[in-house]
Symmetry: C2
């Protein structure tokens, strides 16, 4: 290719965008590097310069998704909003970035040791724990621990609502937007 | 086929069981009648005697799933358990019948006018509404209505937890079982 349409940084971006499009159409499991290259309009060998394989590509997309979510949660916190608003932001993120959200939900297809993925996910999780008022020392695995029970409940609540909407099992009523539905639902969580 | 291994009722059962197996392995979207026949060990024309097409087969599986869920919720109510226990039953159902649960979550692949599906779904929904203390007149669409907000929150909560577990994003801690996690999470919902 002498007439390469993208330079390095743009190509990576173009490949991620093409991947998100294809994931949105057919889900993460159906993605192939060859098809991503075709959709992005580049040589079929181009993706391998940036991502070793499909797992690498999906992992990059998931890391980007967790980063987008973390940034959104940071904005919400910076605006001084209460814990429930973090949940509303989660649902809005999932609605606005359905392909990223879908990839983040398929850990079996990802490289779980990827440092970018881990860093982005930890960043988002730390915001949720801090928002719920769970001290650092209580951020273990056991769901029955009080603090984690609250975080797990909040996560389940907004994850469930986002998934139900993505699956078309719940749709906002006439005149309602996604944020209004998310607010009505998160209001049902007990106070800390 | 002179040596038919199943009579009428058993063949339908065998086809549904084979479908549930295949859905568990590769998800609802990948199911084909031909593969179901192969897995059940019957002629490739056999499924068409019971289900017109893949949509019909998945719809029957979804209807069966909603029926299993409704039966489980009825047992829970009959035992005099409180509302949160219905949620625990929902999570246990999803964990024990992952293929049925997955099919119930793909309305786009189902015949949404199928009377068996509608009846089973309504039966399960009525139990959830009644358990939440929502009067018949309040069972409309708007999530912002108080009663529906509570049911939608409860549904989101247990749906989210079930999905997070199915996706491997949440696993019970050491010595915990699924019911214990579900109880810790549903305890975070406000009282009516």
């Amino acid at each position: 290719m002498t007439d390469r349409p993208y330079h390095h940084g743009n190509l990576r971006r173009a490949l991620l965008d093409a991947s998100a499009q294809l994931v949105g159409e057919r889900g993460p499991a159906a993605l192939s590097l060859r098809e991503v290259a075709r959709r992005a309009g580049v040589s079929h060998a181009a993706p391998a310069h940036h991502f070793t394989d499909r797992r690498g590509l999906l992992t990059a997309l998931a890391a980007e998704g967790w980063g987008l979510l973390a940034a959104r949660l940071e904005d919400t916190r910076a605006a001084g909003a209460e814990f429930a608003e973090l949940g509303v932001s989660y649902v809005l993120f999932a609605t606005e970035h359905p392909a990223h959200f879908a990839v983040m939900r398929t850990p079996g297809l990802l490289d779980d040791a990827d440092p970018d993925l881990l860093a982005a996910r930890d960043r988002a999780n730390a915001l949720l724990y801090a928002g719920a008022g769970v001290p650092e020392s209580d951020r273990g695995l056991a769901a029955s621990a009080g603090g984690r029970g609250r975080v797990l409940a909040a996560w389940s609540l907004v994850h469930g609502l986002a998934v139900l909407m993505q699956e078309g099992l719940v749709v906002p009523g006439p005149g309602e937007d996604v944020a209004a539905v998310a607010r009505a639902v998160t209001a049902q969580l007990r106070d800390a």
